[in-house]
C-alpha cells in the first residue's frame, strides 16, 4: 500500500470516529487501534474471570441462603461478563486459546484489585460496594466506545453491574446495624479495600502516555484521574450512610472545585502488585491454570463426542439414501 493510500484510509477512519460512527469488525482500522483494543478488551475479560476467585472463596460460607443466592448469581454474572468480552475481543482476529495462553503465561494482565485476599465476610460487601462501584465508573463510558462489539458488550455488562453493587452495599449496611464486632469488621474491610479501589483507575494522567491516543480514538472518554475523582466524590456520601471512615486523613471537601481532595496514592504498592508481587498474584494465576489444565480432558472429550455424532448422522443418512 502506498503511503498516500494509507494516509487517506487513516483520515477516513478518524473522520468516522469523530462523527461517532461505530467501527465494526470488518471495517478498515489502523493496526495500532486493533492492538490497543485487543490489549484492553482481553485485559478486561481476564479481570472478570480472575475476579470470580476472591468472591468464590465465600460462596460456601455465606451467612444465609439469601446471601448465598445473591453471591452465586453475582459470580455467575462475572463469568458471563468474561465471555461477552472474550467474544468481542475475538472479532478483532485473535483466537480464544491465544487469549487464554496470554493470561496463563502472564503476558496479559488483569486488574490488580483481584490480587488482594478476602479474609472476612465483610470483604464481600466491600468488593460489591467499592470494586464493582469503581468498575461501573470505568465501564459506563465504555458503552460509547468507538468499537461496536466492545460497546455492545459493555451495555450488557453495565445493566447487570448495578445489582452487584447493591448486594454489596446491603451486606455492609446490615453489618453497620449489627454488633460492635460486626461494625469493626466492616471498618476493617473498608480500610483494606479503599486504596486498592482508588488505584483501580490506573496510573495518574501524567503517567499514562497512551491516554491521549485512546481518547482521540474514542476508546476512552475520560482520563483515569477524572474517573477516580468522580468515584471518590460519590463514595464519601455513601460511607456516611454506612457510618464508616474512609482511611484517608487528607480527604477534604474543596469549596472551590466542588470536589473531594484526597491523599497521595501509594504508587509503589500499585506497581508492585502489577509486577506480580501482590499478596495473591501467584495463587490467582495458579488457580486459573489448574482449572484450565484439569478441564482439558472435558474439552477434548466434548469435541470428540460431537465429531462422532456427526459421523453417525452422515452414516445413517447414507444408509437411507
Amino acid at each position: 500500500m502506498t503511503d498516500a493510500k494509507q494516509l487517506s484510509l487513516e483520515d477516513n477512519f478518524q473522520a468516522k470516529v469523530d462523527a461517532e460512527i461505530k467501527i465494526e469488525p470488518k471495517d478498515w482500522m489502523p493496526e495500532k487501534y486493533r492492538k490497543t483494543l485487543i490489549r484492553q478488551i482481553s485485559q478486561h475479560a481476564h479481570s472478570e474471570i480472575v475476579g470470580m476467585l476472591p468472591e468464590g472463596n465465600w460462596i460456601t460460607r455465606a451467612p444465609s441462603l439469601r446471601r448465598k443466592l445473591g453471591l452465586l448469581a453475582k459470580v455467575q454474572d462475572e463469568a458471563g461478563h468474561g465471555l461477552y468480552l472474550y467474544s468481542a475481543c475475538e472479532t478483532l482476529g485473535i483466537e480464544r486459546d491465544t487469549l487464554l495462553d496470554q493470561l496463563h503465561t502472564g503476558k496479559a494482565k488483569y486488574s490488580s484489585i483481584f490480587n488482594y485476599p478476602t479474609t472476612t465476610w465483610a470483604d464481600i460487601g466491600a468488593i460489591g460496594w467499592l470494586v464493582d462501584g469503581a468498575a461501573i465508573m470505568n465501564q459506563v463510558p465504555i458503552c460509547r466506545c468507538s468499537y461496536g462489539p466492545y460497546a455492545r458488550a459493555m451495555v450488557r455488562v453495565c445493566k447487570e453491574e448495578s445489582f452487584h453493587q447493591r448486594q454489596g452495599f446491603e451486606i455492609l449496611l446490615t453489618l453497620s446495624k449489627g454488633t460492635d464486632e460486626q461494625r469493626a469488621m466492616l471498618q476493617d474491610a473498608v480500610n483494606r479495600w479503599w486504596w486498592p479501589s482508588v488505584m483501580m483507575f490506573g496510573p495518574s494522567d501524567k503517567d499514562s502516555p497512551n491516554t491521549a491516543q485512546s481518547m482521540k480514538w474514542k476508546i476512552k472518554r475520560f482520563t483515569n484521574d477524572d474517573l477516580r475523582q468522580k468515584f471518590v466524590d460519590v463514595c464519601v456520601g455513601q460511607a456516611e450512610i454506612l457510618g464508616v471512615t474512609l482511611p484517608d486523613p487528607d480527604l477534604k471537601y474543596n469549596e472551590e472545585t466542588g470536589h473531594w481532595d484526597f491523599g497521595t496514592i501509594n504508587w509503589d504498592e500499585f506497581w508492585q502488585v502489577v509486577k506480580g508481587n501482590g499478596p495473591c498474584n501467584r495463587q490467582r494465576l495458579n488457580a486459573r491454570k489448574k482449572a484450565h489444565e484439569e478441564g482439558a480432558w472435558v474439552r477434548e472429550a466434548a469435541m470428540a463426542y460431537a465429531e462422532k455424532q456427526e459421523q453417525c448422522e452422515v452414516a445413517s443418512v447414507a444408509k437411507v439414501a
Binding site: 478498515w28 461477552y84 467474544s87 475475538e90 472479532t91 483466537e95 486459546d97 458488550a153 469435541m303
Partner: protein, 95 residues
Amino acid sequence: MSKKNWPLWEVFIRSKQGLNHKHVGSLHATNAEMAIENARDVYTRRKEGVSIWVVESVHISASNPDASDELFEPATDKVYRHPTFYDLPDEVKHM
C-alpha cells in the same frame, strides 16, 4: 487434538413473542445443542429471551464493508420510493 478451540457460534435471541431474533454475540460450543444451552446461560440469565437461534460463524456470509457504496448505490437516488416524493393537497387526509 486437531482443533484447539471449539467452533464459534453466533447467537440470536427473540426477546419476546412477536419480535424478530436479534444478534447478541457469540460463544464457543462443540455442537448446536451445546451452543443453545450455553447461549441460555450466557445471554438469557434474566429472561432476556423466549427463543434462541445459533449458527456456526463459518456459515455466515457478509457483504464487504469496503464495497458498501457500490452495493447500496442503487437505492441512493430513488427518492420516488418514498411517500414524501408525491405532492398532495392538505385536504387529503389519512394518506
